[in-house]
């Protein structure tokens, strides 16, 4: 059943700007780093002489985090906007599908598209590293965890934005929440105690173990998702 819902979701985002965004996000992050390394090549190469790949990954991460946090709000909003635009909720929900599956479909679509962006971020980063002549000592594990850990730790926000975007016809509200969240997390994230979700995507915690942030993110993400689903099921369709 959820398979049918997802297959319909993918059809509906055909020819949508959404796909462009999925590619443009990671491309923009890596392009900015290409400019950064291009302009300050000698300086940065001296600084990261021992580990140029590590330096690149660190720089990419710094930009990728706010891009992920704002990107997830926009993708969630666009995914739900397809139904809001011509008020298709009443059509979809009068079909033999459960409201739970429809809600899960939007969340999974959003999560999947962001995952695509993360995969592209990995590929673009590797391409830039090779283009800069960093050679074959690519630290695969470091790169993958630098990209996918923040994605998993940001799961509460993916679930929250998906929930708000689906249940509110006016997308200004979820987008505002998303933008504020991005600013808070990026600029004040390290000043909050570890239990504040806005700190998790940065993977810093007092134990120095990024996986704790990931685990809390995934766990809380599931809870937020279930809360959103319960509200969506209870509410009358607009």
């Amino acid at each position: 059943m959820i398979g049918r819902v997802l297959s319909s979701e993918f059809l509906k985002i055909r020819k949508k700007l959404l796909w462009l965004l999925v590619v443009a996000g990671p491309l923009g992050v890596v392009a900015l780093q290409a400019v950064n390394f291009g302009l300050r090549y000698d300086y940065l190469m001296k600084q990261y002489a021992a580990d140029p790949w590590g330096g690149l990954i660190e720089n990419v991460s710094i930009l990728a985090l706010p891009a992920l946090l704002i990107g997830l709000a926009i993708v969630a909003s666009m995914a739900a906007g397809i139904e809001h635009q011509m008020n298709a909720w009443k059509m979809t929900l009068a079909l033999p599908v459960t409201k739970r599956h429809v809600f899960a479909g939007k969340f999974l679509l959003t999560a999947f598209l962001l995952l695509c962006s993360c995969v592209l971020l990995v590929l673009f980063t590797v391409a830039l590293g090779f283009a800069l002549g960093f050679g074959s000592s690519l630290p695969v594990g470091e790169l993958l965890s630098a990209v996918f850990y923040p994605y998993l730790a940001a799961m509460p926000f993916i679930a929250l934005q998906s929930w708000l975007s689906v249940t509110m016809a006016n997308q200004a509200i979820p987008l505002t929440v998303g933008i504020v969240g991005m600013i808070v997390s990026t600029f004040a994230g390290s000043r909050f105690p570890d239990w504040v979700p806005y700190t998790w995507p940065q993977l810093n915690n007092e134990w120095g173990e990024p996986l704790y942030s990931v685990a809390m993110g995934v766990g809380t993400g599931i809870v937020v998702f279930l809360l959103g689903m319960a509200e969506f099921v209870r509410k009358d369709v607009k």
């Binding site: 049918r4 819902v5 297959s7 319909s8 059809l11 509906k12 055909r14 020819k15 949508k16 397809i82 635009q85 011509m86 008020n87 298709a88 909720w89 009443k90 059509m91 979809t92 929900l93 009068a94 079909l95 033999p96 599908v97 459960t98 009358d236 369709v237």
Partner: protein, 307 residues
Amino acid sequence: MSANQELILETNGLTKRLGGKPVVNAVNLKISRGDIYGFLGPNGAGKTTTIRMLLGLAKPTSGTIRVFGKDIRKERLAILRKVGSLVEYPSYYGHLTATENLEAVRRLLGVPRSRIDEVLSIVRLTKEAKRPVKGFSLGMKQRLGIATALLGNPELLILDEPTNGLDPAGIQEIRELIKSLPQSSGVTILISSHLLSEVEQMATQVGIISKGSLIYQDGIQQLREQAKGRIRLGVSDPESAWKLLLSCGLPADWDHGKLSLTRTDNRTVAEAVARLVEHSHLVYRVEEETASLESIFLEMTGSEGSL
């Protein structure tokens, strides 16, 4: 009323309160298999709210809904598998073509892909199938909505004001389309409208809702009987003809202009004409008042102004 037939849809005390007031109030709908049920009421009467509850889009404040004998609260999916619907203005994905719009719904229904071409041809959109729907006229969007409703081979079709906002040609087109459906597919249809004239020619049953309450529910034929109030008589001297008819014990009425009979059975009419001719009145016309079906509806709903 086709009382001996299987009930396809039945509500009991269906009520919905919104903002503190009952928008739908203790409604008992009864729709039998094969009916074309005209669900009538002025704007704001509660038609859409009722239909949303029938489809499980909104939860009743109280009351029950049974469709195909099943409770909507317990077996919503099983019911919706056999129901096609179009609620208020059409829903569609503007950036997709007509075919893609239908495909998005088809994937949820799991019917064969060939069904898309079938429903497109039923609503005569085959030629426009590859165009983005945002460029469609309202009438075409409405037809696409009906095609979507038909996609799953429904046994019950629920159409909420499918002709709203269309020009007369569009209205005619949709009406012809709906009239042709029961013969071609044997469906039961619930169609709502704020105009009696719009469903009059196709409906077999009529339910009239006003301010949330169902104030009439019976066959269209019974409504017609009620409406056939009088027979108009065109005669040479209405006043003396009126006096003559009254003196013969016939139910005549004269409003200082036109003469009419307030009973319409054949015997009364025949006798009136015979008496008039007997007394050398010239009888120009004997006609039944037909426009009064609408006026009965307006009288019932007290809504002359809002139309």
